[in-house]
Amino acid sequence: MPVYFLEIIVVALGLIMLLVDAFAKIEDKRSIAWIGMVGLLVVFGLLFKVQWPESTDGAFWQFYSANDQTSLFYKGIAIVTTLIVLIMAADFRHIVVAQTADPEKGAHPQAGLGEFFALPMFACAGLMLMASANNLVSIFVSLETVTITFYILVTYLRRNVGSLEAGVKYLILGALSTGFLVYGFAWLYGITGSMQLSEITTALADPEVNSIAALFAFALILVALAFKVGGAPFHFWIPDVYQGAPTPITAFLSVGSKAAGFIVFLRLVAPFLASDVLADKVTLVLAIIAGITLIMGNLAAMPQKNFKRLLAYSSVAHAGFLLMALASAPTKSSEGSLSPATVVTFYLGAYLLMTLLAFLVITTVRNSIAGEEIESYKGLAKRSPFLAFMLIISMASLAGIPLTAGFYGKLFVFKIAVDQGNWTLLVIGLIGAAAGFYYYLKVAVPVFFGTPAKDEGEELSTIPVSAPARAAMVILTIAIIAAGVNPNLIIGLFS
């Protein structure tokens, strides 16, 4: 089966879900989410069955890269993320309904829920397309498909002020960053005369290239991409948007959007790094951005009291580690060392496992506890040991404690930084990792040391966990620990 069928199937699934929502009379709209989940599972299985095309001469292949195991891995990330986002969205239905329901009489009691399940499918298709985009046009189209879907999803809880505020912020800043991106693309086209990444690479490698113009294009693109992945100082939207958006969408933004942002980052930075004239300056700028991101993300995470805000800053901090790997791209003299692409891809794989696990716990707990403050998790260990255990595993992995996948991620980043002699970044990264011990473990304090707040003497029962969520949590936990012992389980998937 040709690889681009995957995107087509996902889009078709999304359309089917919309049609079912519009025309079929169903009581519980969760069945729409079920269609998506089953469909995505099938697509995930198909990932291992794709065939590469024999010839890549046609016009289509100028927009869509072939022969690339890494892009398949990123498609896998997109599918798994969307699948788990749908699981969370199905658990989140009460809140969505309560904050969107139309007060009119006669409407379906779950009106407006169907699109909440269908829209992530289109974002997923966009993310998958982005993984294979090898042309400025297809990069831009796929990126915008994703972003526009997110504009809707972030602001989905339309009777919740926080969600609306988040949506407006995301829309304005997102549109601005898109402007930067297109302007950067225009300059890049002007300098190189091509939209094709491979041709851009050749053109930039020419020692005669207009380096000032090229660096200007790079700066514009960097602003836009740093915005997408949450690199400082373009990260200010992240905490507010993460806190305001519906939790499943926060998870989607935090994992899917970041992974997609980084694959575009890898693709777009590669031509600049391959050029002898530009490599040094580009690396320096990346290193500065990485350093600022590490400091801002880690230090700002420490005083946070809202769990989603904490994870927002943590996502900035992780972007810092990823940028640190990008800024440590090997020069020609140090061949045979780790490549930033491997490090970044592994890190994102590990990041997906642990972040989604944390968000699954948050969504599940949110159904029983009305609050996303860390304090409101008081006594969770007593009430639901299962959820507390899942939470501590994901926090341990995010903090980078050995024998979890997160540790290898950081180890690879530190290794590549040492290889390239990026000592300043290394020290900042270590301080950041140490700060991480504190703010991730801080979550454990109310969970394990507090006692659950009782409502009028009423004994609190175990928090119910839906079957798909439970299955997903167990699988993610096993994957975190298994990959924490044997990293080849993840690396083997993309190399």
Partner: protein, 498 residues
């Protein structure tokens, strides 16, 4: 699976089983007794005659990747790690035995026993790993369980603060250690994490002297924090005071020895020139441990704090043995690691019992209880003598080896290390002073009026104490029991380090 792999996996599997619903105390006890039996069998089958080579070797390759050292999940024992394995297994059984019954625990007994197994299992895994990565990773396994144990089950009001202090302190220490290890691996070619291969590489193609200094310094600080080397000791005493008894036993007795083990196994052979260059720094720091912390120990007014500081102080002797860098000094250091681990676990077990029964450990409020609990008094006397280094206990044999090893070469004139040894000898006097003072204050003299007599130690409590005491005296009378394993391993190590 080899026996050794089973030994490493057992505590972790038992922890998993407890998490899934197995009866907590029974599973923990069963697993730790099995580990002890299997370790003893391994020790009996261990042949010291094979000159220091690794035994019970197993290796499962995990990762071969360009630009990253090859990684494998591999285990193996030489004499040094065998002794550490025995220490861990013995202390773990004792620690599980002195843990309160499930019904006596106010909250989550599962978490209690699970954490205990993870702490012990992490230490065992670290000592048995022959791959640098897993040596490090297994040790870190204990970090979060220790945090939870002190924070939830700790004894003092300040336990949350203490839990944070120890976790951040040790976490930062491990990060420094991690950088040191990465630097060492890259400096030695960056091709493998296998400790044996790295040791060979370090003698065939040593790192540049400058790099060696850095590596040794980072490893000294990183491991030093874990061992509570002066001036990185401030986490230790409060943590042992606040920690529940079994955690104090495991941490002071076993986990702390990981840092020393790492210095002997990794830092010395990887960066011998760095060790030589920084010798004087090490000497100053260890004197800080022995004399300064020794005096601090004398000034303590309650038993638990005193024991906490004494365990910091005794690390100085082990550092002295390592600093001596000769066969006698190093094997004395390893023997002392064992002896100190057992004796401090014994003392913490008894102080935990006293705190539970009398509700206080302050010298002012206790007195004359030797008449109330004579059996405990006798056992405590033995343990105190052992800790102060009286003949007949393992500590004495080990300290003698350390001192003679460190004083070697005095015929050519007194160097820095010989002077350091002479000063360190005063530490023996210091530890006699505080141990005997503590014994007098608690067990001798008039009984304060308010003090009610509890029942003396029952067999259930006596059993773990006796296990530890037997180990202590057996090695004390026949140090060769362990020295036969330690010496060939040290010889190989020194030969490799040139």
């Amino acid at each position: 699976m080899t026996t050794l792999e089973i030994i490493v996996a057992l505590p972790l599997l038992a922890a998993l089983a407890i998490g899934l619903g197995a009866p907590a105390r029974f599973t923990a006890l069963g697993a730790s007794v099995l580990v002890l039996i299997m370790s003893l069998v391994t020790a009996v089958r261990f042949s010291p005659s094979i000159e220091g080579a690794l035994q019970n070797v197993s290796s499962r390759p995990l990762l071969q990747m360009d630009g990253f050292p090859s990684l494998s999940l591999s285990f193996g024992l030489d004499g040094i790690s065998l002794v550490m394995l025995l220490l861990s297994a013995i202390v773990m059984v004792a620690a599980v035995l002195v843990s309160p019954k499930e019904s006596d625990l106010e909250r989550s007994p599962r978490l209690y026993y699970l954490s205990l197994l993870l702490i012990g299992g992490g230490a065992i895994g670290a000592f048995c790993s022959t791959d640098l990565f897993f040596l490090y990773a297994f040790h870190e396994l204990a970090l979060i369980p220790t945090f939870l144990m002190i924070g939830i089950f700790g004894t003092g009001k300040d336990r949350l603060r203490t839990a944070w202090t120890i976790t951040i302190y040790l976490g930062v220490g491990s990060l420094v250690l991690l950088v040191g290890l990465i630097l060492a691996v890259i400096g030695l070619g960056g091709s493998t994490f296998n400790i044996e291969k790295l040791t060979t590489l370090a003698s065939d193609a040593p790192m540049a002297a400058d790099l060696q200094n850095w590596v040794f310094f980072l490893l000294l600080v990183g491991f030093g924090v874990l061992v509570s080397l002066f001036p990185f000791h401030s986490w230790a005493a409060p943590a042992y005071v606040e920690a529940p008894t079994p955690v104090a036993m495991l941490h002071a007795g076993v986990l702390k020895k990981f840092g020393l083990y790492g210095l002997i196994r990794v830092a010395l052979p990887f960066a011998p020139a760095g060790a030589e260059a920084l010798l004087n720094l090490v000497l100053v720091l260890l004197l800080g441990n022995i004399i300064y912390i020794g005096l601090v120990t004398i000034a303590q007014k309650s038993l638990d704090r005193m024991l906490g500081y004494s365990s910091v102080m005794h690390m100085g002797y082990i550092f002295l043995g390592i600093a001596a860098g000769n066969e006698l000094g190093l094997s004395g250091a390893v023997l002392l690691m064992f002896a100190h681990g057992i004796s401090i676990a014994l003392l913490f077990a008894m102080s935990g019992w006293l705190r539970e029964k009398y509700g206080t450990l302050e010298f002012d409020k206790l007195g004359g209880i030797g008449k109330q609990v004579p059996k405990l008094g006798l056992l405590f006397g033995f343990a105190a003598f052992a800790s102060a280094g009286l003949p007949g206990f393992a500590n004495f044999a080990a300290e003698v080896e350390v001192f003679i090893g460190a004083f070697a070469g005095a015929q050519d004139g007194l160097g820095w290390i010989q002077w350091a040894t002479i000063i360190s000898l005063w530490g023996v006097v210091i530890s006699a002073v505080y141990m005997l003072r503590a014994y007098r204050a608690i067990f001798m003299g008039p009984i304060p009026k308010k003090l009610e007599a509890p029942a003396d130690v029952c067999w259930g409590t006596r059993l773990p104490l006796l296990i530890l005491l037997v180990a202590l005296t057996a090695v004390g009378f026949v140090p060769e029991l362990l020295n036969q394993f330690i010496r060939p391993a040290i010889t190989v190590l020194l030969a490799a380090a040139g």
